[in-house]
Every structure is written in structure tokens, then in C-alpha cells.
Amino acid sequence: MYGTRGWYYSINLAVLCVASAFFFSCQTNPREPSQNAQAVTSGNRVQSAPTGANVTSAEPEDGRWIMPAKNFASTRYSGLQDINAGNVSSLKLAWSFSTGVMRGHEAAPIVADNTMFIVTPYPNILYALDLTQPGAPVKWKYEPNPSASAQGVACCDVVNRGAVYADGKVFFNTLDNHTIAVDAASGKLLWNTQVGDINKGESLTMAPLVVKGKVLVGNSGGEFGVRGWLTALDANSGQIAWRAFHTGPDADVLIGANFHPYYSQDRGKDLGVASWPADAWRIGGGTTWGWISYDAEQNLIFYGTGNPGPWNADQRPGDNKWTAGIFARNPDTGEAHWFYQFSPHDLHDYDAVNEQILVDLPIGGQTRKVLIRPERNGYVYVMDRQTGQVLSANPFAYITSTRGVDLNSGLLLYNDEKKTEVGRVVREICPAAPGAKDWQPSAFSPKTGLVYIPHQNLCMDAEGLEANYIAGTPYVGANVRMYAGPGGNRGEFLAWDPVKGEKVWALPEKFPVWSGTVATAGDVVFYGTMDGWFKAVNAWSGQLLWQFKCGSGIIGQPISYRGPDGKQYIAILSGVGGWSGAIVAGGLDPRDPTGALGFAGAMSDLPDATTKGGTLYVFALP
């Protein structure tokens, strides 16, 4: 419904500058509740004007939060400003809600029709909370009862990154590959379509995106040998409209006459076959479990593909297209328009599933329609979203695995010394396998012109051989150990200037910052830590303004909305888990440093810092 409006909105730069100056001058001196995290400011950013960025497809602030990314441009920016840098220090808990689920809670709450919708990790219960009543009681709940018959088949993690609201319906995915539409008012099932097969290792963990009456979803499970895809379902009927695979012949990938990639290495016939040995593409990975953005003006969606698998790198010579890259597609037909590969022939598990923020930026003296991708391989890519050209790719983290991106060829320059091989000890591979930034989405404020990036600071050693066992069969892998990168902090929350391509300020955090973030017009940015602190920082300086200790570590996505009472609220799900938090949610043995594919070794002190359990927290000014 929102896509079909088709209007396009740009925030006037001059208005922005005035507004931001006003808000800065109005700001009182906020108290500092704690010195837990200290802002590292490079340059005198606080006083400077925004670099000037317009948000694509931005809608006027309506107080709702209908999709995890807030809008099609994926800014995660709230235009509400009742809560601001001057008064956020008095923010108080308004109400809370226990989900009753113990695994990692990564979802963003969704707010529409005076109701809040939250989807839990497996068993994927969808709750509707009535915001018009004191304490927001449960209005209805929908339990999809995902298959438990094949226990252990969908192994591993059970996260869900959120539901989405459109046109009176709530759409969400279940771990066992069902996309479900429920009537937002009644909780009545409208349709339920199975889009993948758990028996083949597929699962669904991403939040859908609804564009022009189509519900877009993609699969997870690359290391099981699944073939990645994105599919579109009709929002009214649940019927599959199209499916685009990410390996194989052009016909399967929906590559046709309108496909015009910017770089020559992405041009040619059936590269999804030719860039693999023999039939390796048939079980080649390239799944889709991250974020999709949409530009109504161009009528293009943008999303990334996961890493190649289950082949080891030596067994799959070639670029392994179309894995670890980004597609631009027509949402009506699925037809591909361009593609760019962040990590050709990926060696380090650098899935390219992160969010892309669509903005217009002044670059080289002209306004460019760009997308910003803080990428897993450690670079912030600024790309021309019309063509797929990489305009800049600057490191936002400590990187040893690659030496940069050649802007002429678009190629990532690998550092051969850091290639992992069985039996060879390779130390200090940075970033580690979860990347410099994993799924946790960043935000963009058109007021400050800054991107707020929650991420991790981890390196890894591949210390020779580790034997493993599965399905009655021994196998082997690198004995991976992860640890904090330079500085000793495992996480960081940073502000990035996408025009200058540089860090503005950064807040070191003890644990990886595995939560999302929300930026607000009140010059406050919110994020959470894995030991349970929900924090508000000044959008310009990074100064800590307020914090609240939640019951469990935070890996969810904060949102900002206006309640039926007209007040601004901030909401976050706490409930530690996910890959980084598996040591708590999965009860892993902290003595085994190689648990969770080496991640547990870097998190052995997390069980001392937090306990599991999902709770929603909602905050407001008194």
C-alpha cells in the first residue's frame, strides 16, 4: 500500500540546517549518568553543520513504525522530537512485557493502528498489544506452531528479525519457512504459504518487506548446501509471484535484457554457472537473510546475498556468483537491474546481507543518489544506486584480511596471508567471521548527516585443525578462536560521515554491539549492549545522556513511536542470544573456546554479565 503511493519526498537541506541549529542551541547541558562509555571524538564535529543529505522515499513522520527499518530508505530515523538531548535524562520505564521466550530477541517492535506487534524467536509467537489501554495488555496473539516434528533439523539459532505491517495486515516469517499474513485488527489468519523446505536445511529468519503489494522474503541456510533465493508473494493471496535464485543460469536468477552491472566482471552469460566448477552452483549458498530497501522513484529494491557454501574455498575456484554481493531488482517482476559483488570468491564468511540506507549525498560537487552499506568486510560502501558504481569504500573497522577496494575495477583486494586453509595456522584475521558488522542495522539522521553503526571489533585465529562430528560422520575444520581487536573492546558504536568517508565519534563497548539503533529528530540515538544496558547518546557528540539496565542482554532493534496519548515512546526488546549471545541463550560451555564457531571463546564472560529471557521495555518522559 505504501509503495503504491509512489510519492517521493526529499527533506529540504536548508530547512534541515536551520532545524538542526535550532535544536542544538536549545539543548541544555545534559547530565552524564555514567562514564561507562566515553566518546572518542575526531575533529570538532559537535558544532559543524550537517554534510547535507536527503532521505530518499522519506515519508512525513506519522508516529508509526510499520517496518523494522522504519521506511523504505531504511534510515531507522524517527522524526519525533519530544524526547530530545535536553530531556532524555528523565526518560522512565512506562511499561514492559515478557514474551515468555528464552532465545535471542532480534526483532523490532512494529506500531500501527494503536497496536504494537512483536514476533518472538522460535516458536515465533506474534503478539498484538493494545496501546490504547493502560499497560498495553495483549489484544490477541497468533501462534503459528512451527514444526517441531523434525527436531534438530532446523538446528542452530532460532532468531526472528521482525514483522511488518501494511494495509491492515501483519506479515511475518516462521523458522520452518512459512510466510504468514494475519489481520492486524483481529489476529485472524489471512494466509499461510510455505516458501521453503526445512528438510533441505532452509529456514527463514529475516523480516519481510512489503513493496507494492508484494511480500519479499528470502531463505537462510547456506552452509547446509541450500541454494539462496528471494521470493515475492502476493500480499492479498499469499501466492508466489516470482522467485529469483542467487546461483545458476540467468533464467533462474531473473537476469535479462535490463541487467546492466557497472563492472565488467559482472557481465556475461550465465555467470551463476560459469563462475563455479561443474555443478557446484546447485548447492552454492548465496542466501538472503538480511535487509531489503526500496527506491520508489527508480522502482528498484536493493538487497544482499550470503556467502558461498558448503564448498570450501579451494573447491570452488571462481567468483561464485551471485553470492556475497548486492542486487538491484524490479519488485514487480524480480528482474535484475544491476549487481555488485562485495567479496568475490569469499574466503572469510563475509555474507553481504547488511542493510542499505538510501540517501542523496553531495559527492564531487553534485548530488548523487546513493546507497550506504556498512559491510561485513569492514568497509562502508557508498554506491550509486542507479548504476551500482562504488563511489567510496572506506574502512570503519580494523581490517587485515583485505587491503582495500579498487574503485576503478570495483574489486576487493584480498590479503593472501590471511587466507584460511586446513592445517595452516593463520593468526589475526580481522574482521573475524561475524565481520566488522553483522546483521545489526545502522541508522541515518538527515539532521546530522551521520550514519550510526553498531558493530563488533573482533579478530580470529585459525589455529590448525579441529575435528567435528555430524550425522554419524567425522569432519574437520579450522579451530577458530575469536578475540577482541585493537583496543580490547569487542564492540563499538560509531558515527560515520558518509560524505567524508570517516569516523566522527565512536563509543567502545565491552561486548559486540549486536543491537540495532534508532536515530531521532530529538538529536538522540538509542542502542543496547549485550550486558543489558539500553543507552541514549547525543547524536552529534556521542555523549552518553541516559541509560537503563534491562533484564537481559540487548540484541533487538529499538524504535520510536507516538502513542495514542500523543506522547513519544521508545521501545526495545531485550533477550540475549543470536550468534554472539549463544553462549548464554544456548547454554554453551564457556570452557570451550571454539563453541558457536569460535564466537563463544570471545564471549566467555557474557554469562557472568547477563541471563536469558525476552522482555519488551517501553520508555517515555514522565
Binding site: 523434525a150 536445511g201 556467502n307 570450501n312 555474507d351 575435528a467 574437520v476
Partner: protein
Amino acid sequence: MFSPFLKATVVWSLIVCSLSCGVKKDRLPLAAASLPVSRPTGVLRVCADPNNLPFSNNRLEGFENKLADLIANELGERVEYTWWAQRRGFFRNTLKAGACDVVIGVPAAFELALTTSPYYRSSYVFVSRKSSRLHLASFDDPQLRKLKIGVQLVGDDAANTPPAHALSARNIITNVKGFTLYGDYSEPNPPARIVEAVEQGTVDVAIVWGPLAGYFAKHSRVPLEIVPVSPEVDQPFLPFVYDISFGVRRGDQDLKDRLEQILEKRRGDIDRILADYGVPRKDTKGGAI
């Protein structure tokens, strides 16, 4: 390699004891086990895969099912199963979660369980049709450069089955067909597809873990040849031979001791069960290959 949320699981480390005892350092005391040990009386609680012959299935047709019966019989207990697909997360959700007290087949000195002395040692093997007279025995056999080879894959990047690594290390790539070790779980015994491919001629040779190959070769409609791979340990350090033990929860020394007593006492019966299922043996007691 690790799609976090699917990927995000656990690579359960283990030790190939016959080859690497002493390589691991800093073994922690058993007293620090995460769960208190309490076994219900009269019941041997076993966690097993319901769909993974020749090891186990929920019709109790696998050799691990037979071994569970044998143990329970000796203990004077009855077997109670918790069924769970043996994939990543298996040990976390079963043995460590307290859903059972024993897993019948685990590699010797598996880190997340307390393991008994091993009861068999097997090897990866070459499986081919007898009629094709390949007589493969070594990864360095030049025939491997032109034959269609089936190999099982799991994970990605630096985590994979030993033959997958051995082939790529020799640059044997274009003639390799990959089978996922997970397979399609809606079909019976998903890892068995690779042996069927040899039978059907889809591949000339498959390189498969011994017990899997031995059992399905035994039931094959066409005669299959099974030969252990060599070298037993490839360069730089890639073993193809593994010891298999019973696994109990860390700290359950009592059950471990009793299982080892049964291993001694019923050695002959255990060997017979393994032979019935065509398990290729590399240890002296079996000597099947």
C-alpha cells in the same frame, strides 16, 4: 562460512584420539560439569537420530539401536529414546540439556561429553562399482583426476569433510560432485544418497565414512568395492581414521565406568553387531578391512 543464525551454532570439537592425544592442552577438571548428574532408575535414556541408518532410526534398525539394547540389557534397564536429528546443536539440545544420559556413537575424547574407551575404529573409504575395477586405494592415484568423484560437504570455508579437503588440496575439482551431508531429511537416511549415486552410476567413486559406506554397499543391488583411503593422515595433518566411543554427560563417571565394563564383557557381541552392519574396521579387534 557461518551464516550466523543458521550458522550460529556450535562446531563441536573433538579429538581424534588415536592420532592426536596430547595435542590438546589444558583439559579442565570434570568436577566443573555444567549439569548435575542424576540418572533415573531402571531406564537407559539414549539420544539418537531417528533417520540415520546404519547408525540409528526410530524403527530401531540401526547398529546403535542394537548396542543400546545390549547395554540396557546388561544394566538391567529398559531403553528410552529422545529423537533428535544429529546435526549441529545435537549435543547442546540432548546430552547437555539433560534429555538423555548416553549417546551411542561419539568420537573418542569428544570435548563436550565424557567418552568411554573406543569400541571401534573406522576409516573413510573409496566406494566404487566392482565392475569398474578401479581398485583405488590412495588419494594420489592418478585415476582420481579423471573419474567422476562424489564427496560429502558440510559447512564451508575451512570446515569440511576430510576427503573434500584432500581432493581440493590436490587440485581435483572439476570432476567432483558435491553431496550435502545433511541431505533432504524428508527422505530416509539422507546421508546415504552418495552411495546410491555410485550404485546408479551417477558418480564413479564416492569417498565416504566407513560405517555409512559399508552398510549401504552391503545392501546395494550392484556389487560395490570398498577400500580404506590412504594415507591415513594426509598432509599437513588431515586424519581419515577415527576412534568411536560411547558418550555420557561430563561428570557421569559412574555410567562411563559401567559402560566400559560392558564393553569388555560383551566385546564379542559388539564386534558381531558391527560386522552384521558391514562396518569397516581399522582396529585390531575387528580387522574387517
